[in-house]
Symmetry: C2
DNA sequence: ATGTCATGTAATATATAGTTTACAATATTG
DNA sequence: CAATATTGTAAACTATATATTACATGACAT
């Protein structure tokens, strides 16, 4: 469950605590999401998007060698 | 929690049952998500994306009068 | 009319996302 | 170095996403 939340957050010069406050969630939750150790809710994903000024695709779409289905698009 | 899952599914000529099977989830879950009554997991959102051949932004980004934060982008 | 098919929805149960508290580890800065 | 800020992580708890079973309804054939 890789994502680019950490990169986007640091671009904005935000700390995990600040992002957590802004998204109404705990610092631990932010940490685990950045580490890819859990599977956030869509609502939370959107909150994070708003907080760091990125879209869902920019933050959570896995472009690399990830397990995207072969017959996509 | 509006989204365009239903529209995308019908474009593909899929039934709720088929989408449910393809995403490894229950028909009821698909129904509730389409009705906007539930807040799916990122993993499930991605499964749905793959199944109907759309991106996260295309399916789950709320462009309309939704509560997107004023200072986005 | 009757028989499927696709969908909406409710009740109860289970898995897991997110909280709380707490401590450790690693920057970072004086 | 010491002091402080930032992050990683663990255990026990709470909230909620999802499963299971079940019933109801409308569409559309036959």
């Amino acid at each position: 469950m890789m994502n680019s939340v950490k990169h986007a957050r640091m671009e904005r010069g935000m700390t995990q605590v600040q992002l957590a406050e802004k998204t109404g969630v705990t610092r631990q939750t932010v940490s685990l999401i950045e580490k890819g150790k859990y599977n956030p809710t869509l609502k939370l994903c959107l909150s994070i998007c708003y907080a760091v000024g990125k879209s869902l695709d920019q933050l959570f779409w896995v472009n690399e060698g990830e397990k995207r289905e072969e017959n996509y698009r």
